[in-house]
C-alpha cells in the first residue's frame, strides 16, 4: 500500500491568471528579496488584487532556509492572519512557505516535529498556493520540507502528506528570467529527481511514467534553455518537466545522490541541484554492478543505450556526464572548486551524515561505510566507480 498526492496543477503560459479566480481576504506571500526586486512579486500581487485579496509579503527567505527564518515567517502569518499562503520562488521559499503554513495552523508544533506519522489537520485557517520561479526543485508539488539546522550544519528533512499545496501554478513566464547557470543547476536537480524517482527502491507503477517523461524532456530541452534563455518553448517544457519529476520522486523517493548531495551542500555550500547531480553518475555506477536493471531500462527509454545489465546502467552515467559537460556543469567535486584538504578533512562527517539522511534507505545497492567513503573520494577525483 502506498499513496499518491498532488495539488491541483494549473500549467502553461498564462497560468498565473488562475489567481484571479481565488476567493479570500488576505494572502501572505512567502518569497525572497531578489524576486521582489525582479518584479515577480508585484505580478502575483496584481492578480491577487484582481481577485479582491489583500497581499502581504514576507521576503526574508534565504537559500537553504533556517528554522529561525521559518519562526519569523510564522510570526508574520500570525500578525496578518491570511487565508491564503503563497510560496513564490525556488525550493527555498516554497519549502519555507510549507513550514510556515504548518506552524501557523499548528503553533503547538516545533518545526522538527513536522513528520509523516502524525495527523496535522491543516486547512483550518489557510490554504497553500505554490508558484515556482525556477524549473527544478518540484517543491511546488511535493510535501517534503528541507530546513537547515544552522548550529549542526545539517539539513532537516521534514514534511507530511497533508502539507502538499492546494494549488500549484506552473507558469513558464515566471522562470523566464533565470540566468544560464541557475537554469542548468535547477534543471539538473529535476533530472536527478526523475532518475532517482525511477530507480529507487520505493518507485511505483504510478510514478514511473512521470519520471521517464520528465527525464526525456530535460535531456531534450535543458541544453536549449541554458544556451538561449529566451527560448520559451524550451522554458515551458522544462518547467513542466520539473513538476512531473517532482510528482514522480515526491510520491516515490529520491535516493543516494540526494543523500550525498545534501551533505555536500550543507558543509561546502554547493548549490543543491549541482551537488545532487554531481553525485548521480557515481551512484549509478556503484549500483550497476549489483542492481543494474532499472538504470539500464531507463538508459534504453532515454535512448542512451540499447544494452542491458551493467553496460546499460553505465551508459546512463556516461549520458549524464556528457550532458553536464555540454551545459558547463562540473562532473567532479574538484571541478566544483572544493579544496581537497578541506574535503578530506570532512569526509567522515560526510559519510556519517549521508547515512543518516532518509534518502539513503532507498538505494538500489546499499553501501557499507567504507564503500560510501570511497564513493565520496572517487567523486572528488572524477574517477568512474569500479567497485
Amino acid at each position: 500500500m502506498w499513496y499518491f498526492v498532488s495539488p491541483q496543477i494549473v500549467f502553461g503560459a498564462g497560468a498565473l491568471d488562475a489567481l484571479d479566480e481565488l476567493s479570500g481576504r488576505r494572502a501572505l506571500i512567502i518569497t525572497d528579496e531578489t524576486l521582489v526586486e525582479l518584479g515577480l512579486v508585484d505580478r502575483v500581487k496584481a492578480h491577487l488584487t484582481q481577485a479582491g485579496i489583500e497581499s502581504h509579503i514576507f521576503a526574508a527567505v534565504e537559500p537553504d532556509p533556517s528554522v529561525d527564518t521559518v519562526r519569523r515567517g510564522v510570526q508574520a502569518a500570525q500578525d496578518v492572519a491570511p487565508d491564503w499562503i503563497v510560496g513564490l520562488g525556488g525550493g527555498s521559499p516554497m519549502d519555507a512557505a510549507k513550514a510556515i503554513w504548518v506552524l501557523y495552523e499548528r503553533p503547538d508544533l516545533e518545526p522538527a516535529a513536522i513528520n509523516p506519522f502524525i495527523p496535522l489537520n491543516l486547512r483550518q485557517k489557510a490554504r497553500l498556493i505554490t508558484i515556482p520561479t525556477t524549473s527544478g526543485t518540484g517543491a511546488e508539488v511535493t510535501w517534503a520540507i528541507v530546513l537547515t539546522d544552522t548550529d549542526e550544519q545539517r539539513k532537516m528533512g521534514l514534511g507530511n502528506r497533508e502539507n502538499v499545496a492546494d494549488i500549484a501554478i506552473i507558469d513558464p513566464e515566471m522562470a523566464a528570467g533565470m540566468p544560464p547557470r541557475l537554469t542548468a543547476d535547477t534543471g539538473l536537480d529535476a533530472l536527478t529527481h526523475a532518475v532517482e524517482g525511477h530507480t529507487c527502491a520505493w518507485h511505483t507503477d504510478i510514478t514511473d511514467g512521470l519520471c521517464v517523461s520528465a527525464a526525456r524532456l530535460i535531456l531534450s530541452y535543458l541544453p536549449r534553455a541554458v544556451a538561449d534563455g529566451s527560448d520559451m518553448e524550451a522554458r515551458e517544457r522544462l518547467h513542466n518537466a520539473a513538476t512531473c519529476a517532482g510528482l514522480g520522486f515526491g510520491n516515490a523517493m529520491a535516493s543516494m545522490a540526494h543523500a550525498m548531495g545534501h551533505v555536500l551542500g550543507a558543509v561546502f555550500h554547493v548549490h543543491h541541484g549541482r551537488a545532487v547531480a554531481l553525485f548521480l553518475p557515481y551512484t549509478i555506477e556503484f549500483a550497476a554492478r549489483e542492481a543494474p536493471q532499472r538504470f539500464a531500462e531507463l538508459a534504453n527509454l532515454l535512448g542512451c543505450s540499447t544494452a542491458a545489465g551493467e553496460e546499460g546502467a553505465r551508459a546512463l552515467a556516461t549520458c549524464l556526464r556528457d550532458l553536464y559537460r555540454q551545459i558547463g556543469n562540473p562532473t567532479s567535486v574538484a571541478e566544483e572548486g572544493v579544496a581537497r584538504e578541506a574535503y578530506e578533512a570532512q569526509v567522515d562527517k560526510l559519510v556519517d551524515d549521508a547515512f543518516n539522511d532518509t534518502q539513503m534507505i532507498t538505494a538500489a545497492r546499499a553501501p557499507s561505510f567504507d564503500e560510501l567513503r570511497q564513493l565520496f573520494l572517487y567523486a572528488y577525483e572524477g574517477r568512474p566507480v569500479d567497485f
Partner: protein, 136 residues
C-alpha cells in the same frame, strides 16, 4: 535450526546478531532507546506477543520476551500484526514505509527514529540473519 518467531530465543538471537554487527554499531553509535515490539494476532498467529530489545550506543545489552508491554520500560513501542512483522523480517516491507503507511504503529519520538535510517536498515539486515520459523 530455525528459531520460532515470536519467541524469547528469537529476540535473543537478533540481539546477538546486532552485537556482532560492526555496521550496526557504527550507524547507531549515539542511539539511546529501548524497543518493545508487539506482535498482534491475525489469521496466521492467534496470540499477542511482546519482545523487548535493549539498544544503547550501537550495542544490544539486553533482549527478552516479556509478558506484557509494561513489564519493561521502553522509549519506543512498535505494534503490528504477525503477518506484517513477517514481511519486515523477510525484507518485503521497508519498516520506514511501514510506519509511514501505519502498517507498523510506532509510539515514541518518531523523528528520532527518522534520524537513524541506517541503523533501522541494519536491524532489518540482522533480522534476515536469524534463521526464522514462522510456523508454516
Amino acid at each position: 535450526m530455525a528459531i520460532r518467531f515470536p519467541s524469547d530465543e528469537w529476540i535473543k538471537e537478533l540481539s546477538r546478531q546486532l552485537n556482532a554487527s560492526e555496521s550496526y554499531e557504527r550507524s547507531a553509535k549515539d542511539w539511546e532507546g529501548d524497543f518493545v515490539f508487539i506482535v498482534e494476532p491475525d489469521a496466521s498467529y492467534p496470540d499477542t506477543a511482546y519482545l523487548f530489545l535493549g539498544l544503547y550506543h550501537g550495542k544490544s545489552p539486553d533482549a527478552m520476551m516479556i509478558a506484557n508491554k509494561d513489564e519493561r520500560e521502553a522509549a519506543f513501542v512498535i505494534a503490528a500484526p504477525f503477518s506484517t512483522w513477517r514481511q519486515v523480517i523477510e525484507g518485503k516491507l521497508d519498516p520506514i514505509q511501514g510506519m509511514m503507511t501505519k502498517q507498523l504503529k510506532l509510539s515514541g519520538d518518531m523523528m528520532k527514529v527518522m534520524r537513524y535510517p541506517k541503523a533501522a536498515k541494519e536491524i532489518v539486515s540482522c533480522c534476515a540473519l536469524v534463521p526464522t520459523d514462522f510456523g508454516d
